[in-house]
């Protein structure tokens, strides 16, 4: 059964070219304007965007590279196939496209008629910032990414991540508890 499926899948991937880029020939670079460019197969793309196909399950694999017009140039099967230098430029670009600050404390949670208002403390470089956010549809917008990781999506479209519920302090956990399940 399993082999049959992989066989079928591989015939499909033969029939349809996913267009993986050759990790050896990929050459990302920083542009003077502050963006990431790409030299590949004789082409020079002045600004590329990296997008994760499976941001939750496979954040480091299946990365789509798109040009200025958002047209896909190709996909990178795994970032680990890149050289160290290429890897770090690619990671920097991904980090600036996917912004989900890590929450280290939940200061308050107030429920008002279908909206949940939260004060979240995010920590970056040792400095703590308090973020006010409002969450609608708690069922959908406060959800577990895996066993222990929690994501909060607010009404503006910001996303916050709690890396480990187990490691969160007792008080914060107690405030969040009613909305977890």
């Amino acid at each position: 059964m399993e082999t049959a499926r992989t066989a079928a899948a591989s015939t499909l991937s033969y029939a349809i070219d996913i267009g993986f880029l050759d990790p050896k020939k990929v050459e990302f670079y920083k542009t003077p304007g502050g963006f990431t460019g790409l030299r590949y197969a004789g082409n020079d793309y002045k600004r590329v965007t990296l997008r994760r196909a499976l941001p939750i399950k496979h954040p480091m694999e299946y990365i789509s590279v798109a040009d200025q017009e958002n047209k896909e140039i190709g996909m990178i099967r795994s970032l680990y196939e890149l050289s160290e230098k290429q890897f770090s430029i690619a990671m920097a670009e991904l980090d600036s496209r996917y912004y989900s600050p890590v929450v280290c404390e939940v200061k308050s949670v107030k429920d008002k008629l279908g909206y949940v208002y939260m004060e979240l403390v995010i920590e970056r470089d040792g400095a703590r910032h308090v973020k006010n956010c409002a969450v609608k549809d708690v069922n959908k917008n406060i959800r577990m990414l895996d066993e222990d990781r929690l994501a909060i999506f607010d009404v503006d479209g910001n996303r916050y991540v709690i890396q480990s519920l187990n490691k969160l302090d007792k008080k914060s956990l107690k405030r969040l508890e009613p909305y977890l399940f």
């Binding site: 600004r47 600036s96 912004y99 989900s100 008002k112 008629l113 503006d156 910001n158 508890e177």
Partner: protein, 712 residues
């Protein structure tokens, strides 16, 4: 002092939180600073365009320079997205026109005072609004009904007070007649009768007055509902499109119901209990001061405990409720998609999904039951605390001879009046808050400005002349332009076809022409007059439109066709139906034109639906006819039949047709090809075919697929 537009952003270039400002002033300088340091300066002369590039959870503004290179101006979180779009608009406008135009102040979706988001589609903050003002206004609206409501309420309270007499009688029986063992049978009978009477009269008054009361509150709710409904009818389409239909319906129906229920249940009950509380308090104080203090001593503690208790319970039950709705959603999905499930042979998987969900629900429910069983006695215990105290100290005093037995009985009877309501009193604030929010929502609708501009001096030119789009740009979201700088002119009587990929913005052009939305830039004119200066009603009377997703009202086919022209004659309705090729299928139904359609009526197919919609659009003989994929659900044959009759109708009328099947548009006078929000090509079918551009490719692609169909 230079005029400038500022955009405050909140991330630095390395994605760390920061306070930055992107400034654009009227001399055309763009400056990006973090703290006081400007780390980047550009002039508008160098820049071709600035644009927002959305990321995931964040975004950035990028300046495309004249030499084609690009510069990163700033990064920000999604909280700044709207303002970023505004900023780009200001700069791009300057680049195009060399004019500095400050943007109009837009209402922010957050509260100025506390920075919190508004609930739902409210534009006031549920934390900071003027609560007293809302109550005052609600009371003001209730005034016409006060004549019913207030006396009824008073009588209801009176009936409860009559109940309160019962313990007094008990005390008298015990202290004066029973304890001394010297009362006569008559005396006891008299008192018992008085007790009975007090109860009976109380009950009677209650029944009568609560009827009056309910009637009053229903009238009040209807009054509110009518006010809101009338207002919605008067609002211009533009301000209506700010809210979803669901929201408006909820405001008219649900919110008025919430307010009504609050008045007839919660509010009334609270007032009654308050009065009772005071009365009991006074009676108790007069009877025995010390014992009264004892009774009231635990009240604050009990209140606190109860409110904690409720919070705890509430959270648990809400969780159960959510699990339950998840189960229902799964079930709903499976039943609706049963064909798909079966055809993929996935029944097992779906069964497992559902049974997992129900198992979880069962677990939560049983946990809750257990918890409730444990906690309920505790609650009873809490509300019974006063009784313990009274019995203990009262009994102690009786033994010392400092208190009569009757007084003790009276006290323990009154205690229930004090403690039992506490259970519910603690949830009263929530109740009140819900009612207030509903009230605020209703007031918002009542306060909405009817757009005066469209009403005061409407220039109602006959909608027959040429239609022009002049530099029209538009986006549903400020940072995602859908239409960019559209310039077209449509001559009277012309038949125009609009083609383009799905999502290109074709329907959006129609929405703008119908004034369901106003353009962000540029204007749309008919006969040289901006449609914003016309009476919307006048505009809609003269345009017949068949939308992509047609909506038919519940009612007969006849009513639906005659909807646009209620005074239409039967002949007109039949003629319209014939023109739309709907007549034949209508005649096949048993009830003909009287066939009921909609929710509970005869179910009609997508194609039939569209034909009725076409009939509805043409019956009022509009001078402009808009067909937005009006024939897309029809088979080729039916379409060509309708097309023939449409061709007859279309003659002499300005027609704008959007069609998926390009062959439908072959006899259009001119075609516009929309690509990426711009007019990419225009001309007749032949011209465009010769050009071998986008249109040519679309036609070729369609021929290919239709050939494939023919073969198979």
């Amino acid at each position: 002092m230079l005029k400038s537009h500022e955009f405050s952003y909140d991330l630095d270039l390395t994605m760390q939180p920061a306070n930055g400002i992107l400034r654009f002033n009227e001399t055309g300088t763009i400056e990006s600073c973090i703290g006081d340091k400007a780390f980047l300066t550009l002039t508008a002369d160098e820049v071709a365009e600035v644009l927002v590039i959305p990321g995931v959870g964040c975004g950035l503004i990028c300046a495309r320079l004249n030499d084609g290179s690009e510069v990163l101006l700033c990064r920000f979180t999604m909280s700044c997205m709207k303002e970023a779009g505004e900023f780009c608009k200001v700069v791009n406008y300057y680049i195009k026109t060399r004019e500095y135009a400050a943007p109009e102040k837009k209402e922010k979706p957050v509260c100025e005072k506390c920075g919190r988001h508004f609930v739902g589609e409210l534009t006031v903050c549920v934390f900071c609004y003027n609560k007293i003002g809302v109550i005052k206004r609600a009371l003001g609206l209730m005034r016409p009904f006060a004549g019913k409501i207030i006396p009824a309420e008073l009588f209801i309270t009176l009936s409860s007070v009559l109940y309160l007499l019962v313990p007094l009688f008990s005390r008298k029986i015990i202290d004066d007649y029973l304890r001394p063992m010297k009362g006569t049978f008559q005396q006891i009978l008299l008192l018992a009768a008085a007790m009975f009477l007090a109860r009976a009269i109380g009950e009677l008054i209650f029944i009568l007055s609560s009827r009056v009361f309910n009637k009053g509150s229903i009238l009040f709710a209807n009054h509110l509902r009518n006010l809101a409904y009338e207002k919605i009818q008067k609002l211009s389409l533009n301000s209506l499109s700010k809210r979803t239909p669901g929201d408006l319906i909820r405001r008219v129906m649900e919110d008025t119901t919430v307010v009504k229920e609050f008045i007839s249940d919660g509010g009334r009950w609270a007032m009654e209990q308050m009065i009772l509380f005071v009365v009991v308090f006074v009676i108790l104080i007069v009877t025995n001061f010390q014992l009264t203090l004892l009774v009231f001593l635990p009240v604050p503690v009990v209140c606190l405990a109860l409110s904690r208790f409720w919070r705890f319970i509430h959270i648990r039950y809400e969780r159960q409720w959510r699990k339950n709705s998840k189960c229902q959603a799964i079930l709903h999905d499976i039943i609706k998609g049963i064909r798909t499930v079966k055809s993929f042979g996935k029944e097992e998987m779906e069964i497992k999904k559902f049974s997992d969900a129900t198992r979880e629900l069962a677990q939560v429910s049983s946990d809750n039951e257990v918890m409730w069983a444990k906690l309920f006695p505790l609650m009873t215990f809490l509300t019974g605390i006063g009784e313990f105290l009274v019995l203990y100290f009262g009994g102690y005093k009786i033994l010392n001879g400092a208190l009569s037995f009757g007084v003790l009985v009276q006290f323990s009877m009154y205690i229930t009046y004090i403690y039992a309501p506490l259970r519910w009193f603690v949830s009263f604030p929530r109740w009140l808050a819900d009612a207030m929010t509903s009230m605020v929502k209703i007031f918002e609708i009542l306060d909405e400005d009817i757009e005066i501009k469209s009403v005061t001096e409407p220039k109602n030119v006959p909608i027959a002349g040429k239609v022009t789009f002049e530099g029209v740009s538009f986006g549903y979201k400020s940072y995602e332009p859908v239409l960019k700088d559209i310039n077209i002119e449509i001559k009277p009587g012309e038949m125009i076809g609009i083609v383009g990929r799905s999502g290109a913005g074709k329907s959006t052009m129609i929405n703008l022409l119908m004034r369901l939305y106003d353009p962000n830039q540029g204007r749309i004119c008919i006969n040289g007059v901006d449609i914003r200066e016309m009476d919307p009603e006048h505009l809609h009377e003269s345009i017949g439109v068949v939308f992509q997703d047609t909506f038919l009202f519940a009612g007969s086919i006849y009513d639906n066709i005659a909807y646009a022209k209620p005074d239409a004659t039967v002949e007109e309705v039949i003629a319209a139906a014939k023109a739309a090729n709907a007549h034949d299928f209508i005649m096949k139904t048993a009830d003909g034109y009287n066939t009921l359609i909609g929710e509970n009526g005869y179910s009609i197919s997508g194609g039939e639906r569209q034909r009725i919609a076409i009939a509805r659009a043409i019956i009022k003989n509009p001078s402009i006819l808009i067909l937005d994929e009006a024939t897309s659900s029809l088979d080729v044959e039916t379409e060509s039949i309708i097309q023939d009759s449409l061709n007859r109708i279309v003659k002499g009328r300005t027609t704008i047709a959007i069609a998926h099947r390009l062959s439908t548009l072959r006899n259009a006078d001119r075609l516009f090809v929309i690509d990426d929000g711009r007019i990419a090509e225009s001309g007749t079918h032949l011209e465009l075919m010769k050009k071998k551009g986008i249109y040519y490719r679309l036609v070729m692609a369609q021929r290919q697929t239709s050939k494939l169909k023919e073969i198979s």
